[in-house]
């Protein structure tokens, strides 16, 4: 009976998903309802979870629910605690989900909704969720060790050190690019700037409340924090319209960049309870609330996708990011399809809290599917916008100019007809003075969300409120990530520099702490500043660099998984990790190569650097640079970006060689050579 029910249920899900894809396929060339897209995606997630992740758990990994996990063996009530699987799922999801899945898909929408959707679905099912789940498994079998330690154990000391340096480099780039997203959202926006600034005193008040007034009352403090935040959005409009306060909160890109750099340095030096923890609670509440609201909103409003399924920009001439569909789509959408960063979380606190190996599937694979769903909704929100508005918001000033008239003319010439009136009206609807060149994902997503949520709740007059709510929600968790990431970066620097000069590694030694915090902030601050003054608008330059780095890290994590499978003598199943590894290596190495050596200046860093260096030598200026010194700086920055990209390429190539040699050795061995913690019988949890 149960079996029959199961067949019926999964059959029904498959049929619903089939209908979704059929609706998309049969209506190509006409507009499709977003509900079909979201439904088809959900069906894919359910089927992949039910069948593929089960196959991986049972056959490929040989998950053993009766084998004691680190949480059971070392249970100390603190670091190692067996945790309810739903609670741990929430904990894990809150840790992996950030701004990444909201930015990449929005940028990728320039190629149409179809390429991004297909990559998100195929990528998560075959690569991203597989990586998260197997890394979690490998870490659980090794006392919850971190990725760096496991690479050291299974691949050797040199690859272990290389992986750590790679992680630090990616951290720096991600902090810079996320900060840049905030800069793009807040520049010339007094309303947005005021609400974000207001989160600082609100967080401080919450911190004091939870520390001294009602210790540990997370829920209470967060509830009043959320109310105050909503109040600050409401107040923001009045501030923006005020004769003297409005201009005071109207800041340019470089001013906001400096503000974030100073914020990063100060915030990451404060005790965690004062600002980071309360912001973390606020952003988690807002994140979950907003994602649920958006999902409900899409189903209630059922908007049409107005972006074409595929645009002409798959040829690489797109204004949002340069380069053709292969390989650049696959590095633009990292989080949501496959994200190397997750391998650090799957080998962080999660493996120390898992009750049973039987939960690995739900937490590792299921957690990543949820993140992919968030990415699908972000893509949907960007694609229900008028494509003309989308391109006006995401193209750099160098391409579309700085006036609504010029922008409308350029974007219309691409075939996305738009008038200056519509551009100005859209800006007015969301309570802003301009929407031109607000690349970076957040503003576009915010406009899409505002239109969906306003249709569901509040009507046109609420659009400006919802827009600033969406901006607040994204900026809040990006700034939380900047604070948390700077702390982690400082610890990593201290760990490494401690080998050079021991006192630098002492985290109790104040001068060392200050020095390493400053160093970390300077590193990402430099790239942020470079992005703000970049001729192509920064996102165009930095996002691919982040994508390449993140996918390289995923490549390293999947190489580790492959080596572990080989050492377990499970070589007949090794395709499960080898296929995504190969795909990631091919796309990221191609992308890396093109970013360095491509002759088109918009794509290749060296070509762009040379263009500026030669023009500077001839004494000609290329906008937006205003002096020869600035021209030389742009040239230098491009050479620097080429070097960072080259570092990622060499790093992953070296890893590949190590992994191959060790895999061959494992293949020749007669018995498993894997270094797992010996098996102990534990209580089985289903």
């Amino acid at each position: 009976m149960n079996k029959l029910l199961s067949i019926l249920l999964w059959g029904a899900i498959a049929v619903i998903g089939g209908f979704g894809f059929a609706a998309i396929a049969l209506n190509r060339g006409e507009s499709v309802n977003a509900v079909w897209l979201v439904t088809a995606a959900l069906a894919v997630y359910f089927l992949a979870y039910r069948y593929y992740s089960m196959y991986i758990a049972a056959r490929v990994l040989g998950v053993d629910p009766r084998r004691a996990t680190p949480a059971v063996r070392h249970n100390d009530g603190m670091d190692y605690v067996p945790t309810n699987k739903w609670v741990l799922y929430g904990h894990h999801f809150a840790a992996i989900a950030g701004a990444g899945p909201l930015v990449g898909p929005v940028l990728a929408a320039q190629m149409g909704y179809l390429p991004g959707t297909l990559w998100l679905l195929a990528g998560v099912v075959l690569a991203g969720a597989v990586q998260d789940m197997i890394v979690l498994f490998v870490s659980v079998r090794r006392d919850g060790r971190s990725l760096g330690e496991m690479v050291k154990m299974e691949l050797g000391n040199v690859p272990g050190t290389l992986a750590l340096v790679g992680v630090l480099a990616i951290m720096i780039i991600i902090l810079a690019v996320l900060s840049l997203v905030v800069v793009k959202a807040l520049a010339e926006s007094p309303w947005g700037t005021f609400t974000i600034a207001a989160t600082i005193p609100i967080a401080l008040a919450m911190g004091v409340y939870m520390r001294f007034i009602r210790p540990g009352r997370v829920g209470e403090a967060s509830a009043f924090g959320v109310v105050l935040l909503l109040g600050s959005i409401w107040l923001g409009r009045a501030v923006a319209e005020h004769a003297s306060w409005g201009p005071a909160f109207t800041l340019g890109g470089t001013e906001i960049a400096w503000a974030i750099i100073i914020y990063g340095a100060v915030a990451s030096s404060l005790p965690v309870w004062l600002m980071l923890a309360p912001r973390d609670y606020l952003s988690t509440f807002l994140k979950i609330g907003t994602i649920v609201a958006l999902a409900i909103g899409i189903y209630v409003v059922a908007p049409q996708l107005r972006m074409p399924d595929v645009t002409k920009f798959i040829d690489g001439t797109g204004p949002v990011f340069s380069g053709s569909l292969f390989p650049f789509l696959f590095i633009t959408i990292a989080c949501g399809a496959v994200s190397g960063f997750h391998s650090l979380i799957s080998s962080g606190t999660t493996p120390k809290m898992i009750e049973s190996e039987g939960h690995i599937r739900m937490i590792g694979y299921g957690g990543m599917l949820t993140e992919s769903f968030v990415a699908i909704m972000a893509l949907t929100a960007a694609c229900v916008l008028d494509p003309g508005i989308y391109f006006v918001m995401n193209s750099p000033t160098a391409v579309i100019g700085t006036t609504a008239d010029k922008a409308a003319q350029v974007v219309s010439s691409w075939g996305f007809v738009i008038t200056p009136e519509i551009i100005n009206q859209t800006a007015k609807d969301i309570g802003e003075t301009t929407i031109l060149s607000r690349a970076g994902g957040a503003p576009t997503l915010a406009v899409g969300m505002a239109q969906i949520l306003a249709q569901a709740l509040g009507g046109k007059s609420m659009e400006a409120f919802w827009y600033h709510f969406a901006i607040l929600f994204e900026a809040l968790f990006i700034l939380t990530a900047v604070d948390a990431g700077t702390r982690v970066g400082r610890f990593m620097l201290q760990d490494m520099l401690g080998h050079v000069w021991a006192p630098l590694g002492n985290t109790e030694f104040l001068p060392a702490n200050v020095f390493c915090t400053g160093l970390c902030v300077s590193l990402w601050g430099y790239f942020l500043y470079q992005g703000v003054v970049d001729p192509l608008g920064g996102i165009n330059t930095l996002w691919p660099l982040f994508g390449i780095g993140n996918q390289m890290l995923a490549g390293i994590a999947l190489l580790l998984c492959t080596v572990v499978l080989m050492k377990m003598k499970r070589e007949r199943y090794v395709w499960v990790t080898l296929v995504p590894t190969a795909w990631l290596l091919v796309t990221t190495l191609t992308a890396g190569w093109q970013k360095i050596f491509h002759p088109t200046p918009a794509i290749g860093f060296i070509a762009q650097g040379r263009r500026f260096a030669e023009a500077a030598a001839n004494g000609t200026l290329i906008a937006p640079a205003k002096s020869i010194a600035e021209m030389q700086r742009v040239a230098f920055n491009n050479y620097l970006d080429a070097a960072v990209c080259g570092f990622f390429v060499v790093l992953v190539a070296a890893m590949c060689v190590y992994a191959l040699l060790i895999s061959l050795k494992a293949l020749r061995a007669a018995h498993p050579t894997v270094k797992e913690t010996p098996r102990e019988e534990g209580t089985a949890y289903a």
Binding site: V81, G219, T284, F341
Partner: protein, 74 residues
């Protein structure tokens, strides 16, 4: 009517217990382990040791979540 008020009180206490469990689950999501479970564990396995106070335990969990436990970003 004592009976109905009794069942009301019962429902209320069940509701409170449910609320407490919900709060505990929320704290778990934010990386704060169950304090009572920690106390029970410490009493059972290391009877001589002085346990951390509730506030100290909470502070420790915050510190672990936010200071160098590994990146939580994208």
């Amino acid at each position: 009517m004592p009976e109905s008020s009794g069942s009301l009180a019962g429902a209320f206490s069940r509701f409170r217990a449910l609320g407490e469990r919900g709060r505990e689950a929320w704290r778990g999501v934010f990386g704060i382990p169950d304090y009572d479970a920690y106390l029970a564990h410490l009493r059972a396995t290391h009877p001589g040791e002085t346990p951390l106070g509730r506030g100290e335990f909470f502070a420790w969990a915050l510190e672990r979540r936010h200071a160098g436990s590994g990146p939580r970003c994208c």
